[in-house]
């Protein structure tokens, strides 16, 4: 019985192998119309299970210490804290209308945009105490920070404006018109880029006064924009045109446009260089290979919106979800 004799040696190896196999990467896809979060095995590119939430989640963000993934459930008025490695629920916290949320680069502030309630809440990230609420007319949607965490810039969809807030003084710096229905915001090379969803361009805004310096045409319904991990390309999703456009990050010149039908929205970058893109109207995530322009699709829930990839996440279907 040679097998019995080698078992004590084999067993730890088998367990280790199983763990390595399980850590195949976990993607979190927020199904805003389905009141759930899809957990997707990144290696298999297959949905494993769904975490039910109360009402209408939209966006999510990793905490500065990397220990929690915060998911805003807008209509339920709560933020869920999930284990980013497994998806296990850590806690729930009442927060008014948490549509979009983001931590400052220094980890000191958490800004929560209440799109339906026309408010921008600035929290102390460590204590989660509300420092100040800024009324914001109207529909504050996306945000980004200056790299030194001194200011936050918020697009106001309902009034074609952007608001800049001084986080040190907790005071509004300016609110300026930046184009029709602004959505995604990105600080880039000393400027603020904002995707104007009611148009076909990304506006380049001077962070000092909100003045629009330039307009970069990308596609109909420019909605959201993301800087690639190597900082060489800015990716823009065009909601109405159903395209994703790459821009040269140094010149902002368009490089290529990819057809991603079904309302492309958020993007996350996988370690293999591919882009994961939520397609709101198609109930799918597209996994785009930017070299070939081809994409695979993964079925998820209704109206997928926010997206987070954890390449070290454990893709185990049996982890407790609630």
């Amino acid at each position: 019985m040679r097998f019995i004799r080698v078992l004590p040696v084999l067993l730890p190896l088998l367990v280790l192998g199983a763990k390595l196999a399980a850590a195949s990467g976990l993607a979190f896809v927020v199904n805003s119309g389905g009141a759930s979060i899809s957990l997707v095995d990144m290696s298999a590119e297959k949905e494993l299970r769904r975490i039910p939430v109360l009402r209408e989640p939209h966006h999510l963000v990793l905490s500065p210490d990397g220990k929690s993934l915060l998911v805003g459930d807008t209509v339920a008025n709560e933020v869920l804290f999930l284990d980013p490695a497994t998806g296990a629920l850590q806690k729930r916290m009442p927060v008014a209308d948490p549509y979009q949320l983001g931590f400052s680069p220094n980890g000191r502030f958490l800004v929560v945009n209440g799109l339906a309630r026309n408010q921008i809440d600035v929290y102390d990230a460590a204590s989660m105490q509300l420092l100040k609420r800024f009324p914001a007319a109207s529909m504050p949607s996306h945000l980004d920070y200056a790299p030194d965490s001194s200011r936050v810039f918020v697009s106001l969809q309902g009034t074609d404006s952007m608001m800049a807030i001084d986080l040190g003084k907790l005071a509004t710096l300016w609110t300026e018109k930046v184009g029709k229905t602004p959505a995604g915001v990105l600080w880039h090379e000393g400027k603020v880029l904002v995707a104007d969803m009611g148009t076909d361009y990304v506006a380049v805004v001077d962070p000092a006064d909100g003045h629009v310096i330039n307009r970069i045409h990308t596609g109909k319904g420019a909605h959201n924009l993301f800087l690639s991990p190597d900082r060489k390309i800015i990716w823009v999703n065009n909601r109405v045109g159903g395209t994703t456009t790459s821009l040269d990050a140094s010149t902002l010149a368009p490089i290529r446009s990819y057809a991603i039908p079904g309302g492309p929205d958020d993007i996350a970058f996988a370690p293999d260089g591919r882009l994961w893109i939520t397609r709101r109207f198609a109930e799918k995530v597209a996994v785009l290979d930017p070299k070939t322009g081809e994409y695979q699709t993964i079925d998820v829930g209704r109206s997928p919106h926010g997206l987070f990839l954890n390449p070290n996440g454990i893709a185990a279907p049996s982890v407790a979800s609630r």
Partner: protein, 312 residues
Amino acid sequence: MGDPFDLAAGWLQEHLLIPLLYALGLMQWEDVSYGWALFAVYGACQVAITFAVCMPLERWRPVERWPDAHAVTVDVLYTVISRVGVLPLFSFVLFYRAQVALNGLLADHDLVPPTLERLAPFLLGQPVLTFMLYAIILDCADYWRHRLSHRFRWWWALHSLHHAQRQMTFWSDDRNHVVDDLISALWFGVIALAIGVPPLQFPLLVLVLRFLESLSHANARVAFGAVGERLLISPRFHRAHHGLVAAGQRSCNYGAVLPWWDMLFGTADFRRDYVATGDPTGEEALASGSWFRQQWAGLRRFAATLAGSMAR
């Protein structure tokens, strides 16, 4: 492969609503428009399924046959407006915003608005069970809304439009005055806020309930038997509510889907068999007028009762 309803709504949004909103400069409503698209798709399916089931029933075992069914065509218009257009738009542009605003106000004070899933956490992730509980609560709420609409003169002035139809068919469920519809939406809005009905999560609930309500108005000799009629409202049971003698402020069988509330609150009448329908006290315009004439007549009556109440 996704849910076919969802994919149809997604197609509608991608190819019709979003380009339209973009052209009109209204892209800030693109997120909310998905809810409308979803309900419009479910509404269209409601109409199609109701037609496919009820029409053969009405042909097979009609209670009444009419040489001229012109009055029914107006009811078709009511149905389309109610299920594909106005109602979903109302619920998603107004109700949704109100729900978010009120819930957010409570959350500001660390108060978590009530939901069935919070009261009974085991319901989270149990959509079928949650669906059924919401349906029972909403049906009870609808019983009282309906009963009160017969009780108050000003409300009956509006609701009598629904009862004026002498050629009652499955299309008649939606023949309501728009003000009556608005009051109903407000009524359900308050109830939904109180128990936390998530409109996007349960469009199927609305579809099933509305189908059963349409079926109960069918011009068909359909009964569910002594036991079945005490579990679910049949065309026979609901027809008694629309009967000539039952119209007005004292009626019976107010329930929409479940007869339990009539049984519980003493308004059930299981004896009447396929009576003639209509409201002998109402004016003719309410019964056989065009959509606009019916609406105008209802509004006039409503204003008159309000003025009468104030004069007293």
